[in-house]
Protein backbone atom coordinates (compact mmCIF):
# COMPACT_ATOMS: atom_id res chain seq x y z
CA UNK A 1 0.00 0.00 0.00
CA UNK A 2 1.42 3.33 -0.97
CA UNK A 3 1.47 6.19 1.49
CA UNK A 4 1.69 9.03 -0.96
CA UNK A 5 1.93 9.45 -4.69
CA UNK A 6 3.89 11.89 -6.78
CA UNK A 7 2.16 14.48 -8.91
CA UNK A 8 3.10 15.28 -12.51
CA UNK A 9 4.98 18.35 -11.25
CA UNK A 10 7.11 16.10 -9.02
CA UNK A 11 5.74 17.21 -5.64
CA UNK A 12 4.51 14.56 -3.24
CA UNK A 13 0.78 14.04 -2.96
CA UNK A 14 -1.11 12.64 0.00
CA UNK A 15 -3.93 10.14 -0.43
CA UNK A 16 -6.34 8.07 1.63
CA UNK A 17 -5.29 4.50 2.42
CA UNK A 18 -6.72 1.77 0.19
CA UNK A 19 -7.20 -0.86 2.89
CA UNK A 20 -10.88 -1.84 2.80
CA UNK A 21 -12.44 -5.02 1.38
CA UNK A 22 -16.05 -6.01 0.53
CA UNK A 23 -16.73 -7.04 4.16
CA UNK A 24 -15.93 -3.50 5.31
CA UNK A 25 -18.27 -2.14 2.65
CA UNK A 26 -20.99 -4.51 3.87
CA UNK A 27 -20.31 -3.37 7.45
CA UNK A 28 -20.55 0.29 6.45
CA UNK A 29 -23.86 -0.08 4.60
CA UNK A 30 -25.63 -2.59 6.86
CA UNK A 31 -24.13 -0.96 9.96
CA UNK A 32 -25.77 2.37 9.18
CA UNK A 33 -29.14 0.77 8.43
CA UNK A 34 -29.67 -2.11 10.84
CA UNK A 35 -30.76 0.15 13.71
CA UNK A 36 -33.91 0.75 11.62
CA UNK A 37 -34.85 -2.91 12.16
CA UNK A 38 -34.48 -2.52 15.93
CA UNK A 39 -36.61 0.65 16.03
CA UNK A 40 -38.48 2.96 13.70
CA UNK A 41 -39.78 0.59 10.98
CA UNK A 42 -42.76 -0.25 13.21
CA UNK A 43 -44.23 3.27 12.87
CA UNK A 44 -45.27 2.04 9.40
CA UNK A 45 -47.54 -0.44 11.23
CA UNK A 46 -49.37 2.47 12.89
CA UNK A 47 -50.03 3.99 9.45
CA UNK A 48 -50.98 0.93 7.42
CA UNK A 49 -51.46 -2.02 9.80
CA UNK A 50 -49.28 -5.15 9.82
CA UNK A 51 -49.88 -6.08 6.17
CA UNK A 52 -49.45 -2.43 5.14
CA UNK A 53 -46.04 -2.49 6.80
CA UNK A 54 -45.09 -5.67 4.93
CA UNK A 55 -46.10 -4.08 1.62
CA UNK A 56 -44.01 -1.00 2.55
CA UNK A 57 -41.11 -3.29 3.48
CA UNK A 58 -41.04 -4.86 0.03
CA UNK A 59 -42.01 -1.80 -2.06
CA UNK A 60 -39.37 0.35 -0.34
CA UNK A 61 -37.06 -2.67 -0.61
CA UNK A 62 -37.53 -2.37 -4.38
CA UNK A 63 -36.71 1.36 -4.19
CA UNK A 64 -33.47 0.64 -2.35
CA UNK A 65 -32.59 -2.29 -4.64
CA UNK A 66 -32.73 0.23 -7.50
CA UNK A 67 -30.57 2.64 -5.44
CA UNK A 68 -28.05 -0.15 -4.70
CA UNK A 69 -27.84 -1.25 -8.36
CA UNK A 70 -27.45 2.30 -9.70
CA UNK A 71 -24.92 3.24 -7.03
CA UNK A 72 -22.94 0.07 -7.66
CA UNK A 73 -22.62 0.76 -11.38
CA UNK A 74 -21.69 4.44 -11.14
CA UNK A 75 -19.37 4.07 -8.15
CA UNK A 76 -17.60 1.11 -9.77
CA UNK A 77 -16.30 3.67 -12.27
CA UNK A 78 -15.58 6.55 -9.85
CA UNK A 79 -13.00 5.55 -7.24
CA UNK A 80 -13.56 8.73 -5.24
CA UNK A 81 -14.88 9.72 -1.83
CA UNK A 82 -18.09 11.73 -1.86
CA UNK A 83 -20.37 9.03 -3.28
CA UNK A 84 -23.47 10.50 -4.83
CA UNK A 85 -21.96 14.02 -4.63
CA UNK A 86 -19.11 12.92 -6.89
CA UNK A 87 -21.57 11.17 -9.22
CA UNK A 88 -23.68 14.34 -9.53
CA UNK A 89 -20.57 16.48 -10.08
CA UNK A 90 -19.39 14.37 -13.00
CA UNK A 91 -22.77 13.68 -14.56
CA UNK A 92 -24.93 16.79 -14.02
CA UNK A 93 -23.04 19.80 -12.71
CA UNK A 94 -22.01 21.96 -9.75
CA UNK A 95 -25.40 23.06 -8.39
CA UNK A 96 -26.81 19.54 -8.18
CA UNK A 97 -23.48 18.30 -6.79
CA UNK A 98 -23.56 20.95 -4.06
CA UNK A 99 -27.14 20.05 -3.14
CA UNK A 100 -26.46 16.31 -3.10
CA UNK A 101 -23.31 16.88 -1.01
CA UNK A 102 -25.33 18.93 1.46
CA UNK A 103 -28.10 16.25 1.58
CA UNK A 104 -25.44 13.66 2.42
CA UNK A 105 -23.83 15.68 5.20
CA UNK A 106 -27.18 16.62 6.74
CA UNK A 107 -28.70 13.13 6.39
CA UNK A 108 -25.73 11.34 8.01
CA UNK A 109 -25.02 13.93 10.71
CA UNK A 110 -28.66 13.99 11.78
CA UNK A 111 -28.88 10.20 11.74
CA UNK A 112 -25.70 10.08 13.84
CA UNK A 113 -27.30 12.48 16.35
CA UNK A 114 -30.45 10.34 16.47
CA UNK A 115 -28.37 7.18 17.02
CA UNK A 116 -26.48 8.83 19.88
CA UNK A 117 -29.81 9.89 21.42
CA UNK A 118 -30.94 6.26 21.22
CA UNK A 119 -27.76 5.06 22.98
CA UNK A 120 -28.41 7.62 25.76
CA UNK A 121 -32.03 6.49 26.11
CA UNK A 122 -31.01 2.82 26.21
CA UNK A 123 -28.47 3.55 28.95
CA UNK A 124 -31.22 5.28 30.92
CA UNK A 125 -33.56 2.28 30.42
CA UNK A 126 -30.79 -0.13 31.44
CA UNK A 127 -30.09 1.88 34.61
CA UNK A 128 -33.82 2.02 35.38
CA UNK A 129 -34.10 -1.77 34.97
CA UNK A 130 -31.27 -2.11 37.51
CA UNK A 131 -32.99 0.24 39.96
CA UNK A 132 -31.48 3.71 39.21
CA UNK A 133 -34.17 5.97 37.77
CA UNK A 134 -32.40 9.37 37.42
CA UNK A 135 -29.60 8.66 34.95
CA UNK A 136 -28.74 11.68 32.76
CA UNK A 137 -28.59 10.75 29.07
CA UNK A 138 -26.39 13.67 27.90
CA UNK A 139 -22.98 12.31 29.03
CA UNK A 140 -23.60 9.08 27.13
CA UNK A 141 -24.82 10.92 24.02
CA UNK A 142 -21.65 13.04 23.98
CA UNK A 143 -19.44 10.05 24.80
CA UNK A 144 -20.90 8.04 21.89
CA UNK A 145 -20.21 10.86 19.43
CA UNK A 146 -16.76 11.68 20.86
CA UNK A 147 -15.56 8.05 21.00
CA UNK A 148 -16.75 7.22 17.48
CA UNK A 149 -15.28 10.45 16.08
CA UNK A 150 -11.97 9.55 17.77
CA UNK A 151 -12.11 6.07 16.25
CA UNK A 152 -12.83 7.54 12.81
CA UNK A 153 -10.00 10.06 13.25
CA UNK A 154 -7.50 7.27 13.96
CA UNK A 155 -8.11 5.29 10.79
CA UNK A 156 -10.74 3.79 8.53
CA UNK A 157 -9.60 0.15 8.80
CA UNK A 158 -10.15 -0.15 12.56
CA UNK A 159 -13.35 1.93 12.34
CA UNK A 160 -15.01 -0.37 9.83
CA UNK A 161 -13.57 -3.55 11.36
CA UNK A 162 -15.31 -2.59 14.62
CA UNK A 163 -18.45 -1.88 12.61
CA UNK A 164 -18.24 -5.31 10.98
CA UNK A 165 -18.07 -7.11 14.35
CA UNK A 166 -20.91 -5.22 16.07
CA UNK A 167 -23.14 -5.22 12.98
CA UNK A 168 -22.67 -8.97 12.57
CA UNK A 169 -23.60 -9.54 16.24
CA UNK A 170 -26.73 -7.37 15.83
CA UNK A 171 -27.74 -9.25 12.67
CA UNK A 172 -27.11 -12.65 14.28
CA UNK A 173 -29.26 -11.55 17.25
CA UNK A 174 -32.23 -11.19 14.85
CA UNK A 175 -31.55 -14.70 13.49
CA UNK A 176 -31.31 -16.13 17.04
CA UNK A 177 -34.60 -14.45 17.98
CA UNK A 178 -36.20 -15.89 14.83
CA UNK A 179 -35.12 -19.39 15.86
CA UNK A 180 -36.19 -18.64 19.45
CA UNK A 181 -39.81 -17.93 18.43
CA UNK A 182 -40.12 -21.44 16.96
CA UNK A 183 -41.24 -20.32 13.47
CA UNK A 184 -41.99 -23.84 12.22
CA UNK A 185 -44.78 -24.38 14.78
CA UNK A 186 -47.22 -21.56 14.16
CA UNK A 187 -49.49 -20.93 17.13
CA UNK A 188 -47.09 -22.04 19.88
CA UNK A 189 -45.30 -18.70 20.32
CA UNK A 190 -46.22 -16.73 17.22
CA UNK A 191 -49.93 -15.89 16.91
CA UNK A 192 -50.20 -14.58 13.36
CA UNK A 193 -53.68 -16.08 12.87
CA UNK A 194 -55.10 -14.10 15.78
CA UNK A 195 -53.05 -10.90 15.39
CA UNK A 196 -53.02 -10.21 11.64
CA UNK A 197 -55.96 -8.07 10.52
CA UNK A 198 -57.17 -6.45 7.31
CA UNK A 199 -55.76 -3.05 6.31
CA UNK A 200 -57.09 -0.75 9.10
CA UNK A 201 -56.94 2.46 7.02
CA UNK A 202 -57.26 0.93 3.55
CA UNK A 203 -54.76 1.52 0.73
CA UNK A 204 -54.17 5.19 1.62
CA UNK A 205 -52.79 3.89 4.93
CA UNK A 206 -50.46 1.59 2.99
CA UNK A 207 -49.16 4.56 0.96
CA UNK A 208 -48.74 6.58 4.19
CA UNK A 209 -46.67 3.73 5.66
CA UNK A 210 -44.06 4.10 2.86
CA UNK A 211 -42.43 6.99 4.72
CA UNK A 212 -41.59 4.77 7.67
CA UNK A 213 -40.81 1.82 5.39
CA UNK A 214 -37.65 3.83 4.57
CA UNK A 215 -36.32 2.93 8.04
CA UNK A 216 -35.81 -0.66 6.92
CA UNK A 217 -33.06 0.39 4.49
CA UNK A 218 -32.12 4.09 4.96
CA UNK A 219 -28.37 4.52 4.57
CA UNK A 220 -27.35 1.49 2.44
CA UNK A 221 -26.28 3.98 -0.24
CA UNK A 222 -23.56 5.12 2.18
CA UNK A 223 -21.30 2.32 0.90
CA UNK A 224 -20.22 4.60 -1.97
CA UNK A 225 -18.42 6.98 0.40
CA UNK A 226 -15.68 4.38 0.88
CA UNK A 227 -14.84 4.19 -2.83
CA UNK A 228 -11.51 5.99 -2.39
CA UNK A 229 -10.42 3.68 0.44
CA UNK A 230 -11.23 0.21 -0.93
CA UNK A 231 -8.59 -1.96 -2.53
CA UNK A 232 -10.75 -2.28 -5.64
CA UNK A 233 -13.76 0.01 -6.00
CA UNK A 234 -14.88 -1.81 -9.13
CA UNK A 235 -15.19 -5.11 -7.26
CA UNK A 236 -15.71 -4.25 -3.59
CA UNK A 237 -18.42 -1.59 -3.84
CA UNK A 238 -20.88 -3.71 -5.90
CA UNK A 239 -20.17 -6.84 -3.79
CA UNK A 240 -20.53 -5.05 -0.45
CA UNK A 241 -23.56 -2.98 -1.47
CA UNK A 242 -25.56 -5.78 -3.11
CA UNK A 243 -24.62 -8.21 -0.32
CA UNK A 244 -25.74 -5.59 2.20
CA UNK A 245 -29.05 -5.09 0.42
CA UNK A 246 -29.74 -8.85 0.47
CA UNK A 247 -28.90 -8.96 4.19
CA UNK A 248 -31.31 -6.10 4.87
CA UNK A 249 -34.16 -7.67 2.87
CA UNK A 250 -33.77 -10.83 4.98
CA UNK A 251 -33.44 -8.89 8.27
CA UNK A 252 -36.43 -6.65 7.48
CA UNK A 253 -38.71 -9.55 6.57
CA UNK A 254 -37.69 -11.61 9.63
CA UNK A 255 -38.18 -8.57 11.89
CA UNK A 256 -41.69 -8.02 10.51
CA UNK A 257 -42.52 -11.75 10.85
CA UNK A 258 -41.34 -11.98 14.48
CA UNK A 259 -42.93 -8.76 15.74
CA UNK A 260 -46.31 -9.10 14.01
CA UNK A 261 -46.62 -12.62 15.42
CA UNK A 262 -46.14 -11.41 18.98
CA UNK A 263 -47.77 -7.97 19.24
CA UNK A 264 -51.12 -6.52 18.09
CA UNK A 265 -50.65 -3.83 15.43
CA UNK A 266 -52.07 -1.11 17.71
CA UNK A 267 -49.23 -1.70 20.22
CA UNK A 268 -46.51 -2.48 17.69
CA UNK A 269 -47.19 0.78 15.81
CA UNK A 270 -46.14 2.81 18.86
CA UNK A 271 -43.41 0.61 20.39
CA UNK A 272 -40.00 2.25 20.92
CA UNK A 273 -37.87 -0.92 20.73
CA UNK A 274 -40.04 -3.56 19.01
CA UNK A 275 -37.42 -6.32 18.66
CA UNK A 276 -36.41 -5.99 22.32
CA UNK A 277 -40.11 -6.05 23.26
CA UNK A 278 -40.51 -9.22 21.17
CA UNK A 279 -37.64 -10.88 23.09
CA UNK A 280 -39.28 -9.81 26.37
CA UNK A 281 -42.61 -11.37 25.30
CA UNK A 282 -40.89 -14.69 24.49
CA UNK A 283 -39.98 -14.78 28.20
CA UNK A 284 -36.37 -15.90 27.79
CA UNK A 285 -33.94 -13.73 29.83
CA UNK A 286 -30.93 -14.64 27.67
CA UNK A 287 -32.79 -13.55 24.54
CA UNK A 288 -33.82 -10.36 26.29
CA UNK A 289 -30.20 -9.50 27.21
CA UNK A 290 -29.00 -10.42 23.70
CA UNK A 291 -31.55 -8.14 22.05
CA UNK A 292 -30.78 -5.27 24.47
CA UNK A 293 -27.07 -5.52 23.62
CA UNK A 294 -27.84 -5.89 19.90
CA UNK A 295 -30.04 -2.77 19.97
CA UNK A 296 -27.17 -0.73 21.48
CA UNK A 297 -24.69 -2.26 19.01
CA UNK A 298 -26.95 -1.41 16.06
CA UNK A 299 -27.23 2.24 17.18
CA UNK A 300 -23.45 2.51 17.74
CA UNK A 301 -22.70 0.89 14.35
CA UNK A 302 -25.09 3.29 12.67
CA UNK A 303 -23.53 6.37 14.32
CA UNK A 304 -20.05 5.07 13.46
CA UNK A 305 -20.91 4.60 9.77
CA UNK A 306 -22.63 7.99 9.66
CA UNK A 307 -19.50 9.77 10.98
CA UNK A 308 -17.46 7.97 8.32
CA UNK A 309 -19.84 8.99 5.52
CA UNK A 310 -20.64 12.56 6.60
CA UNK A 311 -16.95 13.34 6.97
CA UNK A 312 -16.10 11.93 3.50
CA UNK A 313 -18.91 13.98 1.93
CA UNK A 314 -17.78 17.17 3.74
CA UNK A 315 -14.15 16.44 2.84
CA UNK A 316 -15.05 16.04 -0.84
CA UNK A 317 -16.97 19.34 -0.83
CA UNK A 318 -13.88 20.98 0.71
CA UNK A 319 -11.44 19.34 -1.71
CA UNK A 320 -13.38 20.74 -4.69
CA UNK A 321 -13.82 24.11 -2.90
CA UNK A 322 -17.60 23.83 -2.78
CA UNK A 323 -16.91 24.47 0.91
CA UNK A 324 -13.74 26.04 2.40
CA UNK A 325 -10.71 24.09 1.11
CA UNK A 326 -9.44 23.82 4.73
CA UNK A 327 -11.73 20.77 5.09
CA UNK A 328 -10.10 18.99 2.15
CA UNK A 329 -7.05 17.99 4.22
CA UNK A 330 -5.95 14.39 4.90
CA UNK A 331 -4.13 13.37 8.07
CA UNK A 332 -0.50 12.52 7.20
CA UNK A 333 -0.37 9.56 9.62
CA UNK A 334 -3.91 8.16 9.83
CA UNK A 335 -4.91 9.12 6.26
CA UNK A 336 -8.39 10.24 7.29
CA UNK A 337 -10.27 13.50 6.54
CA UNK A 338 -9.52 14.61 10.09
CA UNK A 339 -10.61 18.24 9.86
CA UNK A 340 -14.03 17.24 8.48
CA UNK A 341 -14.40 14.69 11.31
CA UNK A 342 -13.62 17.29 14.01
CA UNK A 343 -15.80 19.97 12.39
CA UNK A 344 -18.91 17.75 12.36
CA UNK A 345 -18.66 16.78 16.08
CA UNK A 346 -20.25 19.97 17.53
CA UNK A 347 -22.90 19.92 14.80
CA UNK A 348 -23.92 16.35 15.68
CA UNK A 349 -23.92 17.17 19.41
CA UNK A 350 -26.10 20.24 18.75
CA UNK A 351 -28.64 18.19 16.80
CA UNK A 352 -28.62 15.57 19.56
CA UNK A 353 -29.12 18.15 22.32
CA UNK A 354 -32.30 19.43 20.67
CA UNK A 355 -33.77 16.06 21.71
CA UNK A 356 -36.18 16.27 18.76
CA UNK A 357 -35.68 12.70 17.53
CA UNK A 358 -38.77 12.77 15.26
CA UNK A 359 -37.86 15.96 13.40
CA UNK A 360 -34.17 15.04 13.17
CA UNK A 361 -35.01 11.66 11.63
CA UNK A 362 -37.59 13.16 9.24
CA UNK A 363 -35.02 15.72 8.02
CA UNK A 364 -32.54 12.89 7.56
CA UNK A 365 -35.00 10.71 5.61
CA UNK A 366 -36.09 13.57 3.35
CA UNK A 367 -32.51 14.58 2.62
CA UNK A 368 -31.82 10.99 1.60
CA UNK A 369 -34.96 10.90 -0.54
CA UNK A 370 -33.97 14.06 -2.42
CA UNK A 371 -30.66 12.38 -3.19
CA UNK A 372 -32.38 9.21 -4.52
CA UNK A 373 -34.64 11.29 -6.77
CA UNK A 374 -31.63 12.97 -8.39
CA UNK A 375 -29.89 9.60 -8.64
CA UNK A 376 -32.51 8.32 -11.09
CA UNK A 377 -31.92 11.36 -13.34
CA UNK A 378 -28.13 10.94 -13.00
CA UNK A 379 -28.31 7.30 -14.10
CA UNK A 380 -30.20 8.03 -17.33
CA UNK A 381 -27.73 10.82 -18.16
CA UNK A 382 -24.71 8.67 -17.17
CA UNK A 383 -25.62 5.93 -19.67
CA UNK A 384 -26.22 8.55 -22.38
CA UNK A 385 -22.93 10.39 -21.77
CA UNK A 386 -20.80 7.29 -21.29
CA UNK A 387 -22.56 4.33 -22.98
CA UNK A 388 -21.54 0.74 -22.17
CA UNK A 389 -18.07 0.10 -23.54
CA UNK A 390 -16.91 3.74 -23.40
CA UNK A 391 -15.47 3.44 -19.84
CA UNK A 392 -14.55 0.43 -17.73
CA UNK A 393 -17.31 -0.58 -15.33
CA UNK A 394 -16.86 -3.00 -12.43
CA UNK A 395 -20.60 -3.71 -12.48
CA UNK A 396 -23.35 -3.13 -15.05
CA UNK A 397 -26.87 -3.07 -13.64
CA UNK A 398 -29.53 -4.94 -15.63
CA UNK A 399 -32.70 -3.76 -17.40
CA UNK A 400 -31.70 -0.09 -17.76
CA UNK A 401 -33.66 2.28 -17.76
CA UNK A 402 -36.36 0.43 -15.76
CA UNK A 403 -34.56 0.63 -12.37
CA UNK A 404 -34.10 4.41 -12.82
CA UNK A 405 -37.75 4.90 -13.82
CA UNK A 406 -38.95 2.65 -10.96
CA UNK A 407 -36.76 4.58 -8.51
CA UNK A 408 -38.17 7.92 -9.65
CA UNK A 409 -41.80 6.70 -9.43
CA UNK A 410 -41.27 5.23 -5.96
CA UNK A 411 -39.59 8.43 -4.75
CA UNK A 412 -42.66 10.40 -5.88
CA UNK A 413 -44.91 8.02 -3.93
CA UNK A 414 -42.78 8.48 -0.77
CA UNK A 415 -42.95 12.30 -1.17
CA UNK A 416 -46.73 11.94 -1.27
CA UNK A 417 -46.65 9.67 1.80
CA UNK A 418 -44.49 12.18 3.66
CA UNK A 419 -46.76 15.04 2.65
CA UNK A 420 -49.69 13.17 4.24
CA UNK A 421 -47.98 13.01 7.64
CA UNK A 422 -45.30 15.71 7.67
CA UNK A 423 -46.40 18.25 5.02
CA UNK A 424 -45.01 21.33 6.77
CA UNK A 425 -41.68 19.60 7.53
CA UNK A 426 -41.39 18.57 3.86
CA UNK A 427 -42.00 22.15 2.69
CA UNK A 428 -39.58 23.67 5.23
CA UNK A 429 -36.83 21.22 4.20
CA UNK A 430 -37.39 22.10 0.52
CA UNK A 431 -37.16 25.78 1.54
CA UNK A 432 -33.88 25.15 3.38
CA UNK A 433 -32.25 23.55 0.34
CA UNK A 434 -33.55 26.27 -2.02
CA UNK A 435 -31.99 28.98 0.21
CA UNK A 436 -28.73 26.96 0.37
CA UNK A 437 -28.72 26.69 -3.45
CA UNK A 438 -29.14 30.46 -3.82
CA UNK A 439 -26.24 31.02 -1.38
CA UNK A 440 -24.05 28.59 -3.33
CA UNK A 441 -24.83 30.21 -6.69
CA UNK A 442 -24.33 33.81 -5.53
CA UNK A 443 -21.60 33.53 -2.87
CA UNK A 444 -19.74 30.25 -3.12
CA UNK A 445 -19.50 29.11 -6.74
CA UNK A 446 -16.87 31.77 -7.56
CA UNK A 447 -14.39 29.91 -5.31
CA UNK A 448 -14.80 26.57 -7.11
CA UNK A 449 -11.82 25.68 -9.31
CA UNK A 450 -13.86 24.31 -12.17
CA UNK A 451 -11.13 22.40 -14.02
CA UNK A 452 -9.41 20.94 -10.94
CA UNK A 453 -12.46 19.07 -9.73
CA UNK A 454 -12.47 16.64 -12.69
CA UNK A 455 -9.38 14.48 -12.40
CA UNK A 456 -10.84 11.10 -13.43
CA UNK A 457 -9.21 9.83 -16.63
CA UNK A 458 -12.51 9.41 -18.46
CA UNK A 459 -13.01 9.98 -22.20
CA UNK A 460 -14.97 13.01 -23.38
CA UNK A 461 -18.72 12.28 -22.94
CA UNK A 462 -20.93 11.64 -25.97
CA UNK A 463 -22.40 14.85 -27.36
CA UNK A 464 -19.73 17.15 -25.81
Amino acid sequence: MSNASTSAAGSERISMLKVLNPFHIWALGVGIVLVGEFMGWNFSVAKGGAYGSLIACWVIGLLYTCVAMIDSEVTSTVAAAGGQYTQAKHIIGPLMAFNVGLYLVMAYTMLEAADALVVGDLMKSGAAALGYMDLETKPFVVFTIAFLAWLNYRGVFMTLTVNFVITLIAFLAILVLFIGVDPTHSGTILKHKELLTDLPYGWIGVIASFQFGMWYYLGIEGTCQAAEEVRSAGRSIPLGTMGGMMTLLVAATLTWFICTGLMPWQYLGQAITPLYDAATLVGNTNLQILLFVATIFSAVASANGCINDASRAWFSLGRDRYMPSFFGAIHPKYRTPYRAIIFLIPIAVSFAFTGLLDQVITFSILSGLLGYTFMSINMVKFRKMWPLGSIKRGYVHPLHPFPAITLFALCVSVYFATFLGYGSTLLSIMGFYIVASIWFTIRRYKFVKRGDQFTMPWPRPEGY
Partner: protein, 51 residues
Protein backbone atom coordinates in the same frame (compact mmCIF):
# COMPACT_ATOMS: atom_id res chain seq x y z
CA UNK B 1 -21.97 9.15 44.85
CA UNK B 2 -23.22 5.87 43.35
CA UNK B 3 -21.98 3.79 40.42
CA UNK B 4 -24.24 5.47 37.83
CA UNK B 5 -23.19 8.97 38.83
CA UNK B 6 -19.55 7.91 38.61
CA UNK B 7 -20.24 6.41 35.18
CA UNK B 8 -21.77 9.71 34.03
CA UNK B 9 -18.73 11.69 35.20
CA UNK B 10 -16.44 9.15 33.53
CA UNK B 11 -18.35 9.59 30.25
CA UNK B 12 -17.97 13.40 30.44
CA UNK B 13 -14.28 13.10 31.34
CA UNK B 14 -13.39 10.60 28.62
CA UNK B 15 -15.34 12.61 26.02
CA UNK B 16 -13.39 15.76 26.94
CA UNK B 17 -10.09 13.86 26.81
CA UNK B 18 -10.75 12.44 23.35
CA UNK B 19 -11.94 15.78 21.96
CA UNK B 20 -8.88 17.58 23.37
CA UNK B 21 -6.58 14.88 22.00
CA UNK B 22 -8.03 15.31 18.50
CA UNK B 23 -7.71 19.10 18.65
CA UNK B 24 -4.13 18.93 19.95
CA UNK B 25 -3.18 16.39 17.28
CA UNK B 26 -4.77 18.48 14.51
CA UNK B 27 -2.83 21.55 15.66
CA UNK B 28 0.42 19.62 15.85
CA UNK B 29 -0.12 18.31 12.30
CA UNK B 30 -0.74 21.88 11.09
CA UNK B 31 2.60 22.94 12.59
CA UNK B 32 4.60 20.00 11.24
CA UNK B 33 3.28 19.71 7.68
CA UNK B 34 2.88 22.05 4.76
CA UNK B 35 -0.77 22.99 4.13
CA UNK B 36 -0.38 22.36 0.39
CA UNK B 37 0.74 18.77 1.07
CA UNK B 38 -2.17 18.09 3.46
CA UNK B 39 -4.63 19.22 0.79
CA UNK B 40 -2.93 17.66 -2.21
CA UNK B 41 -5.16 14.59 -2.63
CA UNK B 42 -6.99 14.03 -5.89
CA UNK B 43 -9.99 11.89 -6.79
CA UNK B 44 -9.06 8.26 -6.28
CA UNK B 45 -7.30 6.01 -8.70
CA UNK B 46 -8.24 2.38 -9.20
CA UNK B 47 -7.07 -0.47 -11.36
CA UNK B 48 -10.21 0.02 -13.44
CA UNK B 49 -8.97 3.43 -14.49
CA UNK B 50 -5.53 2.05 -15.18
CA UNK B 51 -3.81 4.22 -12.53
Amino acid sequence: MNFWQLLSYAAWGLSALMLLWMLADAMSVAKQYDEEYLMSSREGADELTGQ
